[in-house]
Symmetry: C2
Subunit: 346 residues, 2 copies
């Protein structure tokens, strides 16, 4: 029976170097797995899959059973928060997520009072996962960062560069900050409820951080995440927080110190010198190119070796630099795991 | 009569600090201008607009007449190169560019021998532009960087992260390098022909540099551009080259030294400390958030002032951090120009 603090991912998040490093993959419960597609076909829709504990527990556990990853991540979506805010969220096959775009005027009347009731089934999923997972497996909760969630709420969908939200922020600065404040507050509450249900650690996904200029990055990406971290630290001290600001470029250097996260997620474009600098201050997570899980072969081996060489000598949670794609071959996941876990012997 | 070397943009590209800085805007001849839309409607299609000197000269000159920018950029498109390689390029309203995706096998038989004949009308446009432009206005030629052009040739279209080309490069590394080599060679030739027709300086657009990891950035983005720069330097010494690797993040720091470009284009996400470091080594161009041309007002003024404060004390070609969008208000261009040019008096 492994205690929470002795789980490998938790040891790394506390700043310890573990070699070979523990491994999990962003979107490891996903369409590249036939068993996921089978379970998915039994749900009425994508949100139904997220909100039905029997199904959400099952798809979360599938990659743990098949691959023995060192961490499981709650199966859910960052857009359950706008869904809990009544924004009419739906997932359309081949189109991606849609919701009703919000106006500047409507932001003041957003009502989060029903959030915990709306998301009760998510907390139930977390509770069941903690009791069903192997004791050595870290359980991760997560949510979207306020900026990224806001981009979808404003555009009503994903766009190539989330320009609608950036423009909205220029044209309605006060309403926009009000939206970020609300999202920061309720997202922190949401993560605390996941922690109380059994999550060992949590990750905040800022998938659209990369489209922001410096001042906006500071106000929209750093500020709200910092407030979330402060709240979680105060309410649930000792729970590690991973921050993943995809595409943040040179601005990632100060992300740990400016937000207070324990571990900095690195996307696959972060160069090795920068990655090592960031790791000098604490744990990092990443950052293999996810397309190598499609390509496989010698290119995959070389990519794994490069990540281990660059970051394996410090606190590292081995992961991809973004989510695994539906085209990935499950055989390549096995190959990756063997390569990482065999690194101690080579 | 201003000599070429005395044109303001040319002085900055040679490393001189000119204040207030000269200004032009990427995509300044574009759909935000009613006169452009009028001329565009007289062409059979977008490529017809590029290949008809009467029309291409007209739309290139429109923003010069209206705003008096310090540089004009040849009206054309980076995809005329695949078009010259017979890839069946077409521009579909509301969809963007399409072409026939190329297979690994077909790369060996790409035939560039007809390129200069195919693009003769572009050179004619450059010739006419130089004779019709005011003598103080710099004339810029341009092309796409080999990596960016290759992404379209492989996917057959634009995609959110150009994953098809990245995957292709993993699966067919030799064919892919052959494609980049060919594109580097003919793109250098294409720029030399533009220079011979009258272009004062040239810009290489690597719009998709930001999706590359470090090793790929070095092989796919830096290597081919470096070879282009070497060829142009050797064949037409003294002609300044601007390199714009959008989204390159921390990897932009060494872009000037590793490629040999004279001026580094900065997108709007480059933070000020990094921008200043890059400017210590020579001229930079950028980097106002293009959405401020839609938003206007105090936000625009503040954005202009920030760029001037950060970069105005060194060699700067004032520009946007990416192309101006169709939604931009021409009034905001006037506002920007007054703000920049009035900076000397404030």
């Amino acid at each position: 029976m492994t205690k929470a603090s002795e789980r490998k991912v938790m040891r790394v998040l506390a700043g310890e170097t573990v070699f070979p490093p523990p491994v999990w993959l962003m979107r490891q419960a996903g369409r590249y797995l036939p068993e996921y597609r089978e379970t998915r076909s039994r749900a009425k829709g994508f949100l139904d899959l997220c909100y039905t504990p029997d199904l959400a527990v099952e798809v979360t556990l599938q990659p743990i059973r098949r691959f023995g990853f060192d961490a499981a991540i709650l199966f859910s979506d960052i857009l359950v928060i706008p869904d809990a805010l009544d924004r009419n969220v739906r997932f359309v096959e081949g189109t991606g997520p849609l919701m009703d775009p919000i106006s500047a005027d409507a932001i003041a009347s957003l009502d989060a009072s029903g959030m915990h009731a709306h998301l009760a089934s998510v907390y139930e999923t977390v509770r069941r996962l903690r009791s069903e997972l192997p004791s050595e497996t870290t359980l991760l909760g997560f949510c979207g960062a306020p900026w990224t969630v806001a981009t979808y709420m404003i555009a009503g969908r994903g766009t190539p560069d989330q320009a609608p939200a950036r423009l909205f922020a220029m044209q309605h600065p006060e309403a926009f900050m009000k939206l970020l404040d609300l999202l920061a507050e309720i997202s922190a509450d949401y993560l605390i409820a996941q922690i109380d249900a059994g999550a060992d650690a949590v990750q905040i996904f800022d998938s659209w951080a990369g489209v922001l200029g410096e001042r906006d990055f500071s106000r929209f990406a750093i500020g709200p995440v910092k407030r979330m971290v402060e709240t979680i630290r105060k309410e649930r001290p000792g729970v590690p927080i991973i921050g993943f600001a995809k595409g943040a470029g040179a601005m990632l250097n100060s992300y740990r110190s400016s937000t207070g996260v324990d571990c900095v997620g690195l996307d696959w474009t972060v160069p090795s010198a920068q990655a090592r600098e960031i790791q000098k201050e604490g744990a990092v997570q990443g950052n293999l190119d996810p397309l190598l899980m499609v390509a496989g072969g010698a290119a995959l081996d070389q990519g794994v070796d490069e990540v281990l060489e660059t970051l394996g000598h410090g606190p590292l949670v081995f992961n991809l630099g973004h989510g695994i794609t539906p085209q990935a071959d499950p055989e390549n996941v096995t190959r990756l795991l063997n390569r990482v876990r065999g690194a101690g012997q080579r």
